[in-house]
């Protein structure tokens, strides 16, 4: 009887969600084995630290789709993981996944952890995902970091909702109508 119970317990452990999540079938189909092992190690680190793994998976799949060499994919995934760690340091351990992802991108765009923390305090309900995404978009569009930050932080202090932030971005960086697509 005891042996049956122990076997049952072992079977349950092997079928646990953590064990099932250790290998992502999407990666197995798209990455070579050496790259996959290193990407999965990064995923495991993210899991252990309570960070979201999907941005890492998507970065790896993007690299595979674009035909990037394995070391470059691994480096890009490691950068995303580092960005997420910095984002969580800035936002705190209870940050929502969307907020973490947006904060990681904003930090990469030139925001400081202090700026992220400030946005957390002033944004309506502390939801920073869209304000930080708009900040990142404005910087990516060529706006200076301090100017982009001032625009977004001012709107946050006034209590702007998500749609207001998106309108702000469209006003400051209008899409060029009928422009030709950018060549790679």
């Amino acid at each position: 009887m005891r042996r049956v119970i122990l076997l049952l317990a072992l079977g349950l452990l092997l079928r646990s969600p953590a064990a099932a999540a250790a290998q992502d079938p999407r990666l197995e189909a798209r990455l070579d084995s050496a790259t996959r092992v290193r990407v999965e190690a990064a995923l495991e680190s993210a899991r252990r630290e309570g960070l979201p793994t999907e941005p890492l998976v998507q970065k790896a799949l993007e690299g595979a789709s674009k035909g990037a060499p394995g070391p470059r994919i691994v480096a890009a995934v490691a950068t995303v993981l580092a960005d997420l760690r910095r984002a969580r340091e800035a936002l705190g351990p209870a940050a929502a996944e969307d907020d973490l992802v947006a904060a990681a991108a904003a930090l990469r765009a030139g925001a400081t952890p202090a700026m992220i923390g400030e946005m957390r305090r002033v944004a309506p309900h502390g939801a920073v995902a869209v304000p930080l995404a708009v900040f990142t978009d404005l910087v990516a569009g060529g706006m200076r970091t301090d100017v982009a930050w001032r625009s977004v932080a001012d709107l946050a202090r006034k209590g702007g909702d998500d749609e207001a932030f998106l309108r702000l971005r469209d006003r400051l960086e209008p899409a060029p109508p009928g422009s030709a697509p950018e060549a790679p």
């Binding site: 970065k59 990037a68 995404a133 978009d137």
Partner: protein, 171 residues
């Protein structure tokens, strides 16, 4: 739909007869009844598990069950889960023969989301998306990567090809 299943029809006599038989109590012989009762009386004493192994197995089973339930709760749609919105992606490429969309929402899979061509040379597709931030790009004729000219450029082009970004706000 079969006519016999419509509501308001008279019940089938055969079904009624069968149901009446099933409603009759089943009588057991005194010997069978005695054996069953003996088994029921002795079962609790025989189900005692060894203390440590029993506690271990019960704990693991409880944790596993809780994990399954949590997984179901988080995967199932609920009032707190943001709603999906249809989002149209479009690209004007009148001289090309195929355009596909790849991005964070389809695992960057070139086979997942082809665009459809209208007569004016604009290719488009509508994708259901939850609120969030997504990076994406178009692949034209299977070889050329084009970012969306109507959307912000993604800052982090780690792999050299142009990428766009879309932010879907909560309503």
């Amino acid at each position: 739909m079969h006519p016999d299943h419509r509501s308001g029809e008279l019940p089938d006599p055969f079904i009624e007869r069968l149901a009446a038989q099933l409603r009759e109590p089943v009588s057991l012989s005194p010997e069978v009844e005695r054996v069953v009762l003996d088994r029921l009386r002795t079962r609790p004493a025989r189900r005692r598990w060894p203390g440590v192994a029993g506690a271990l197995a019960a704990g693991i089973a409880a944790a596993f069950g809780a994990g399954l339930l949590v997984g179901r709760w988080t995967a199932a749609p609920s009032a707190g889960v943001p709603s999906v919105r249809p989002v149209e992606f479009a690209l004007r490429m009148p001289a090309d023969s195929a355009v596909v969309l790849v991005g964070d929402f389809n695992d960057w899979n070139p086979a997942a989301t082809p665009l459809h061509r209208a007569t004016d040379g604009v290719w488009s597709v509508t994708v259901p998306l939850r609120p969030g931030r997504y990076r994406y790009t178009f692949i034209v004729d299977g070889t050329r990567w084009h970012r969306d000219p109507a959307a912000p450029r993604a800052l982090e082009d780690d792999f050299g090809a142009p990428t766009s970004v879309i932010t879907i706000a909560q309503r």
